[in-house]
């Protein structure tokens, strides 16, 4: 018995060892596989978290810049080229560095503020992922029609208005849709997006169609469901998606101090002596800014002379001529040659020639009581908005690169006007057949210290002769007032407008034309897989 028992014990031991070995090898195999999967999953989770942390930094920086810009401040504190923001998301930390992009020397006319944001995600001090974003601040000149704040929602006649570019109001619009409009062959009232910071009460799309002097003819059914065919008739191809209520407010600037500084070209105090001062800045013979004019201007005429651009300014009894040799040389009053890319300022028989061209900015501390002519080169003409100064257009304001009556095909001669009011002189000679041509982005209005808004673009006299205006550009206003008087449903005085949007003003605005608190992201790039996309 004892011998047999010993033999059985031996087999059991062998079996146990063999089973253990088998189980051990099985567990070893599993252990070899599991960490691979765990590492892969962990790495993916980490990369996703890192991406979101880096993205949070980029979006935070963008929001920070927009908030500053909405307050009228530069997007990053002035005097610095870089600004750093930090924050955290769960265990992750992000660092976003905002940098300014200097004006491209090969394209000095485009002065829009531009920035880069580089956001990096860190975990325990180790950098994981980075996002690089390039931004350009939008110009006010991007709008076909902008109205900051009317006393009530702006009335728009669906049949009589045609706005062929971006439209924004800080209130809401009221659209009068006459009966039969939806079945008519009329073009749509709007062709691009309509954005409104406000919304009409009890309206599903924020627009009031309940016009007291028209028919309540909305583009939606009794349950508020959009009838897209009708929406396309009013708001263009995008239909109901083309009208957006309750978007962020866009404010007009309260002053034009930055324009004054850029025109003078220096941080030094600007001159106070009445006259035309080239923006020499810290230089004595090189133009570094634009033109700084002290006092009211009786007349300002834009012209082209031998392909070069010329500005004739009448102040009191003085006539000052500013010639910029943008195209080629010119002859000075004494017979000498003015080299190309120079600026000559002449008053009577006296003249001075400076090297360099102006930056295109003309700033006047007073009113410009008469403005007309042919513009050459990108230019912004501004007056002291904070002091309530105005610009009055008295005759055609056209551009050298476009035949009058034609739509611009480029941005070379883009013009912008900035004033508290932009007045258009009534003239009975400007009829439907012979309209007054204006090629410019017109901005009239300001935000006052008490939060109210004033200033607009309109006729000098709403009771004056009915004047037909043909605008190729955009209209930016504080608070639009009536443009004329009506009798029997027909306008008999003031001005009527035929407006054609010039999209070149959006992508290549006049120099230093006021910006809005919106930034267009032109590049968004993760630097993690950089080598995969670089050619």
């Amino acid at each position: 018995m004892s011998r047999s028992r010993q033999q059985t014990q031996g087999v059991a031991l062998l079996m146990a060892i063999m089973f253990l070995a088998a189980l051990f090898s099985l567990s070893l195999l599993l252990l070899a596989v599991l960490p691979l999967e765990m590492r892969a999953t962990g790495r993916q989770k980490m990369e996703t978290e890192a991406f979101y942390a880096a993205e949070a930094g980029a979006l935070n920086a963008l929001a920070w810049m927009e908030t500053r810009a909405a307050k009228g401040q530069p997007a990053i504190p002035s005097g610095s080229d870089e600004h750093e923001l930090t924050g955290s998301v769960a265990n992750w930390e992000w660092k976003a560095v905002i940098g300014t992009v200097p004006v491209n020397p090969s394209n000095p006319d485009d002065t829009r503020p531009a920035y880069t944001v580089r956001s990096t995600a860190f975990l325990d001090g180790t950098r994981y992922r980075s996002i690089s974003v390039a931004l350009c601040q939008e110009s006010m000149s991007r709008f076909a029609w902008f109205e900051e704040s009317g006393s009530e929602g702006l009335w728009i006649g669906a049949e009589s208005f045609r706005i062929d570019g971006p439209f924004h109001t800080n209130k809401y619009i009221q659209v009068n849709v006459p009966s039969g409009f939806y079945g008519s062959g009329n073009p749509s009232t709007f062709t691009q997006g309509v954005t409104m910071a406000g919304a009409a009460p009890n309206s599903p799309d924020g627009v009031n169609y309940n016009c007291p002097f028209g028919t309540n003819n909305p583009p939606f059914d009794s349950k508020g469901r959009p009838i897209e065919e009708r929406y396309r008739k009013i708001f263009g191809e995008g239909g109901s998606s083309n009208v957006l209520p309750r978007v962020k407010k866009i404010q007009l600037p309260s002053h034009a101090k930055n324009l004054a500084a850029e025109a003078w070209g220096s941080e030094l105090p600007p001159p106070t002596q009445i006259g035309v001062h080239p923006g020499l800045g810290s230089s004595s013979n090189r133009v570094e800014g634009g033109l700084y004019i002290v006092g009211d201007v009786k007349k300002m005429a834009l012209a082209v002379s031998g392909g070069n651009r010329k500005l004739t300014i009448t102040q009191g009894g003085n006539t000052i001529e500013v010639l910029e040799t943008v195209s080629g040389t010119a002859v000075a009053p004494d017979g000498s040659i003015i080299p190309k890319d120079s600026t000559m300022v002449r008053t009577g028989d006296e003249f001075a020639v400076y090297s360099g061209l102006t930056n295109g900015l003309v700033y006047c501390t007073g009113n410009i009581n008469s403005l007309s002519g042919v513009n050459r080169g990108k230019r912004t003409i501004a007056v002291d908005v904070a002091q309530g100064k105005d610009i009055t257009i008295t005759a055609d304001l056209t551009r050298a690169d476009t035949s009058p009556g034609q739509a611009p095909t480029g941005s070379r001669d883009n013009l912008g006007l900035v004033g508290h009011n932009i007045w258009i002189q009534n003239s009975s000679s400007h009829t439907e057949a012979n309209p007054l041509d204006i090629y410019a982005a017109l901005m009239g209005g300001r935000r006052n210290a008490d939060g109210t808004v004033s200033g607009y673009v309109g006729p000098t006299d709403v009771y004056g002769p009915l004047t037909r205006v043909r605008l190729f550009g955009g209209l930016m206003m504080g608070d639009k007032q009536t443009w004329g008087k009506y009798s029997g449903g027909r306008q008999y005085s003031g001005m009527t407008l035929e407006s054609r949007y010039d999209s070149h003003l959006a992508n290549s605005p006049p120099p230093y034309f006021p910006s809005i608190a919106k930034f267009r992201v032109v590049s968004y790039r993760e630097e993690h897989e950089q080598s995969a996309v670089d050619w």
Binding site: R3, Q7, V11, M18, F19, A22, S25, L26, L29, A32, V33, L36, E37, A40, Q44, E47, E55, A58, L59, V101, V103, N104, N107, D110, R112, A114, Y115, T116, A134, L135, C136, E138, R142, G165, P166, Q192, G193, T195, L244, V247, Y501, S503, H504, A506, N507, K518, F519, R520, V521, V522, S523, Y524, R525, E526, H528, E529, A532, V533, D534, W535
Partner: protein, 187 residues
């Protein structure tokens, strides 16, 4: 007696012991084979998962760079050119990206294309007739599908297959991800 006790096991005992040992051996061999097959299967699964995952990881950040632009009339152009929004999904996507280095005031854009060809995910500058600029992002995929759900949302499905260990069947991995383009458009 002592000699007799050293003589060993009886025939019956030996046969029983041999049978038990043979049974145990078979079980052990079977267990080992199963374990080895399981290991190979997991390696195969990992391989296909890794291929799908790599494809999605490489494609996603490239698509993040897709950007809407505005045309000369100021109208917004979508970031994704093809396929159009909605089904059916396509195995090729074309999208707009800025040309580096970017001048924020005057950005220049180009169209890029990602597609699947002979199991390789490729990226180029939308030049179907020119293979010189092709970049291979990853290989070993069996199918790749892009379904554009909205102007800024793309669903990507990647499928990889590898032969099963000795069985002639395939391991298959089908991974799907949703790419939400960062908000860049403005109105």
């Amino acid at each position: 007696m002592r000699r007799s006790s050293r003589a060993g096991l009886t025939l019956g005992e030996t046969l029983v012991a041999s049978a038990v040992m043979a049974l145990l051996g078979t079980i052990l061999a079977r267990t080992y084979t199963l374990a080895y097959r399981s290991y190979q299967m997991n390696i195969g699964k990992l391989e296909v998962q890794q291929r799908s995952r790599t494809a999605l990881q490489r494609i996603t950040p490239i698509l993040y760079a897709a950007i809407p632009t505005s045309n000369s009339a100021g109208q917004l152009q979508p970031a994704i050119l093809e396929p159009a929004v909605g089904p059916p999904p396509k195995s090729e996507i074309r999208f707009r990206v800025p040309v580096e280095p970017v001048d924020p005031r005057a950005p220049v854009y180009q169209i890029q294309r990602i597609w699947l060809e002979h199991g390789a995910v490729r990226l180029d500058r939308n030049t179907p007739s020119d293979s010189q600029d092709d970049r291979v992002l990853c290989q070993g995929l069996d199918a790749l599908e892009f379904l554009v759900l909205s102007d800024s949302t793309i669903q990507i499905t990647a499928r990889a297959r590898v032969p099963h260990y000795r069985s002639g069947e395939f391991h298959e991995s089908r991974l799907q991800t949703m790419v939400q383009l960062p908000f860049k458009a403005m109105r």
